[in-house]
Amino acid sequence: MPTERPLSPHLQIYRWQLTMVLSIIHRATGVALAVGTILLIALLLALAAGPDAYQTVRAFCSSWLGTLMLFGWSWALCFHLCNGIRHLAWDTGWGFEIPRAYLTGWTVVAASLVMTALIWACVFAQGGAA
C-alpha cells in the first residue's frame, strides 16, 4: 500500500536489542504454539478413540521428529508463558523503565531455559522420550 506518511525505521537498519528480540520471539512462539495445538487435538482425540489410536500418537511423539517438535514446543510454551507474565506486568504499568525491562527480559530468557531443562529432566528421569 503506497503511503505519504513517514515509515518507522525497519528491521534492516534498526540496531538489534534484547527488548525487540523478545517481542519478535513472543510472536513467533505464539504462532508456533498455535500450530502445536494440532498435536494437542490429536492426543485428546486418540485418547478418546482407543488404545490403537493412542499408541500411534505416542509412537509419533517418541520418534526423533516428534521428540524434536515436543522439545521445541515445550520451550516455546515456557518462553511464551514467562514473557506473557512480563506483558501482564506491563499492562499494570509496572516495569517500563529501561533497566527493568532488560532485567525482566533476561529473567524471562533464563526462566524459560531452566523450565525447559526441568521438564526434559523429568521426561528422561521417567525413562525416555514422551
Binding site: 495445538t37 494440532i38 485428546l44 493412542y54 507474565i85 514422551a130
Partner: protein, 128 residues
C-alpha cells in the same frame, strides 16, 4: 468536526482500528492470558504425568473430574487466545484484502473446530 457533521467524535472513532472493535480484543486477550498462566503450568504437570502412563492409566488421569474440568478450561482458553493472537499477526502482515479475510476465516474455523473436537474428546473420556 464540521458544522454539518452530527456524529460525535466517539461515534466516528468506533469500529476503526485494525481490530474494528476497540479495546474488547485487547481485554479478552488479557483475560485468557491470565487464565492460561495457572492452567498452562498445570497442563505441563499433567503432560509429565502422562509420559510413563499406558493407555488405561492415561485415560484414568483425564477421566478424573478435576482433570477433565481444568483440561476443558485450558483447551477453551487456549484456542480463544490463539485465535486472538493469530488475528493480530494476520492484521499486521497480510495486506491483500482477500487473502487477509481468507486467513482470518481459516484461523477462526480452525480454532473453533479445534476447541470443539478437544472438548468433545475430553467429555467422552470423562463420561466413558
Amino acid at each position: 468536526m464540521s458544522t454539518t457533521d452530527l456524529q460525535t467524535p466517539l461515534k466516528r472513532a468506533r469500529g476503526l482500528g485494525s481490530a474494528k472493535d476497540g479495546t474488547h480484543h485487547f481485554i479478552v486477550q488479557r483475560i485468557t492470558a491470565l487464565a492460561l498462566v495457572p492452567l498452562a503450568i498445570w497442563v505441563i504437570w499433567l503432560a509429565l504425568a502422562l509420559v510413563r502412563a499406558d493407555y488405561a492409566h492415561a485415560r484414568a488421569i483425564v477421566h478424573h473430574p478435576f482433570a477433565a474440568i481444568w483440561l476443558t478450561a485450558f483447551v477453551i482458553a487456549t484456542f480463544w487466545h490463539a485465535q486472538l493472537g493469530l488475528q493480530v499477526v494476520i492484521e499486521d502482515y497480510v495486506h491483500a484484502r482477500w487473502l487477509e479475510v481468507t486467513a482470518q476465516l481459516a484461523v477462526k474455523f480452525f480454532c473453533a473446530v479445534g476447541a470443539l473436537a478437544s472438548v468433545l474428546a475430553i467429555v467422552r473420556i470423562a463420561l466413558g
